[in-house]
């Protein structure tokens, strides 16, 4: 019985070229259910299983005619839209696998930066610290954050000055950081002369050194960029070096 139904439904589907795979499966299921119902009714009237199946198939009519009728109901326009949108959705998902992994890296770096301390920056420089002060100076500018986590008096390459440890990241956890923001920081009006940094696309960790006369009691750290202005007065400790 099943074989007969299978042959019939396949013959119908062969004449429905507009159907998608899902639509074919749906049509096959509908036709089979219809045949089974009819077959059951004939068997209740006393026919054998074999004869009932044969008659049910015969009474369904010409498979080509049924197929052509079903084919005519399928709009080629909506079929085109269906295939096109499915194709692009699959393409988008596949295309985004690698960038997605990169984005996860950005997200992780960004979230880590929000809780970073000066010790976690881990940049080695030739700076010899005299006295360091941990802080959390927060500068929010145009969708980005600059956090100054530590400053220290000391010497680098024989020059006295102040070194800062900072991290920059985007406010949007999925956004890329901007490593040029550090360049907008000045100490007593002077830009840093030496710096080092590391980070991924999402976050930039850096240290930067600005020469300052030994014994200077305080410096003014200024961030000035595109209309955003921040000022911090930082007392300095020179220990015995003063």
């Amino acid at each position: 019985m099943t074989e007969q139904f299978e042959r019939f439904t396949l013959a119908v589907c062969r004449h429905v070229p507009r159907a998608t795979g899902d639509e074919w499966a749906e049509m096959k299921a509908e036709l089979t259910a219809h045949l089974e119902d009819h077959c059951d009714a004939l068997r209740l009237r006393g026919m054998s299983e074999e004869a009932a199946a044969e008659r049910a198939v015969r009474e369904m009519g010409d498979p080509e005619e049924i197929g052509n009728g079903l084919n005519a109901t399928l709009s080629p326009f909506w079929g085109f839209i269906l295939r096109l949108s499915t194709f692009f959705a699959v393409l988008l998902v596949v295309a985004c696998i690698l960038p997605g992994l990169f984005q996860v890296q950005i997200l992780w770096g960004n979230l880590t930066a929000r809780f970073a301390t000066a010790d976690s920056i881990g940049i080695r420089t030739e700076f010899q610290a005299i006295a360091s002060t941990d802080c959390d100076l927060r500068i929010e500018t145009k969708g980005h954050v600059v956090r100054v986590l530590r400053y220290a008096t000391g010497t680098q390459a024989g020059e006295s000055g102040v070194s800062f440890w900072a991290v920059t990241y985007a406010k949007n956890p999925m956004g890329e950081g901007n490593d040029s923001l550090i360049a907008s920081l000045t100490v007593n009006g002077a830009r840093h002369t030496r710096g080092a940094g590391h980070g991924s696309a999402g976050v930039v960790y850096s240290t930067y050194f600005t020469p300052v006369e030994p014994g200077t009691e305080a410096v003014t750290l200024v961030f000035d960029r595109l209309g955003d202005h921040f000022e911090f007065e930082l007392p300095l400790d020179w220990g015995d070096a003063a």
Binding site: S75, S85, A89, L92, A95, M174, G227
Partner: protein, 222 residues
């Protein structure tokens, strides 16, 4: 039969809605930009420019599948570059900008494109005129040569100026001004490009003091 036709339309609309939702989600995550303007917004965000308004959109057949936006807000004027990648969609490319602070009558910035292995450069200069008296601008590039140094001059063409939001902006293709290092220029061989200078002119032809364009960017094309 009617039910099937409805089902097909319904399924197609459902898939379309899924596709649109996917596009919006991927755009929000910064993963895939279907439109260049989406990449442009990401470009502005990465450059920490804040929200920008589009002043002019342009493309240049010498720059492959690029789409470029002259953008501005109250703090900066920028040329934001985006490029189409067949697999990755529209990607941000570069974001040179000039801050709109300072006393200069014209805020300007340049963008130079070089193609590896080819002797051509595409050189754009853009900016905003803040002195309403300024009616034209002349550019000068200073070149280092092995015998003598060389200057090249060109005026920003009138068609490059445009009004937007009560300000006058300009975006000019000044590639003709750009020479090639190693090129013979008179009796000297050029070794490198030096600085780019700008002279604003008033309507009566009076030249304001010349000054160097401090902001610019170089991009190497594949």
């Amino acid at each position: 039969m009617k039910k099937r036709a409805h089902t097909r339309r319904w399924t197609a609309l459902k898939r379309l809605a899924i596709l649109l939702a996917l596009i919006l989600a991927l755009d929000a995550l910064g993963l895939y930009h279907v439109l260049p303007v989406q990449a442009m917004r990401q470009c502005a965000a990465s450059a920490a420019l804040g929200d920008v308004e589009i002043v002019k959109t342009m493309s240049d057949r010498r720059l492959d599948w690029g789409r470029y936006y002259l953008c501005a807000n109250e703090d900066a004027v920028a040329l934001l570059g985006t490029q189409f990648h067949p697999l990755l969609g529209w990607q941000r490319q570069f974001a040179p900008f000039a801050p709109l602070t300072g006393d200069e009558p014209v805020k300007a910035c340049y963008q130079n494109f070089n193609r590896d292995g080819q002797d051509t450069s595409v050189f754009y200069v853009f900016g905003r005129i803040d002195d309403p008296g300024v009616k034209s601008i002349t550019l000068r590039i200073y070149w280092y040569g092995d015998q003598t140094d060389v200057d090249t001059f060109a005026d920003i063409p009138g068609s490059a100026y445009l009004e937007h939001g009560g300000h006058t902006y300009f975006l000019a293709d000044m590639s003709s001004l750009w020479l090639q290092p190693a090129e013979d220029y008179g009796n000297t061989k050029l070794t490198a490009a030096g600085q780019t200078f700008l002279t604003p002119y008033l309507a009566d032809g009076t030249a304001l003091p010349e000054y160097e364009i401090q902001y610019g960017s170089w991009t190497m094309l594949d």
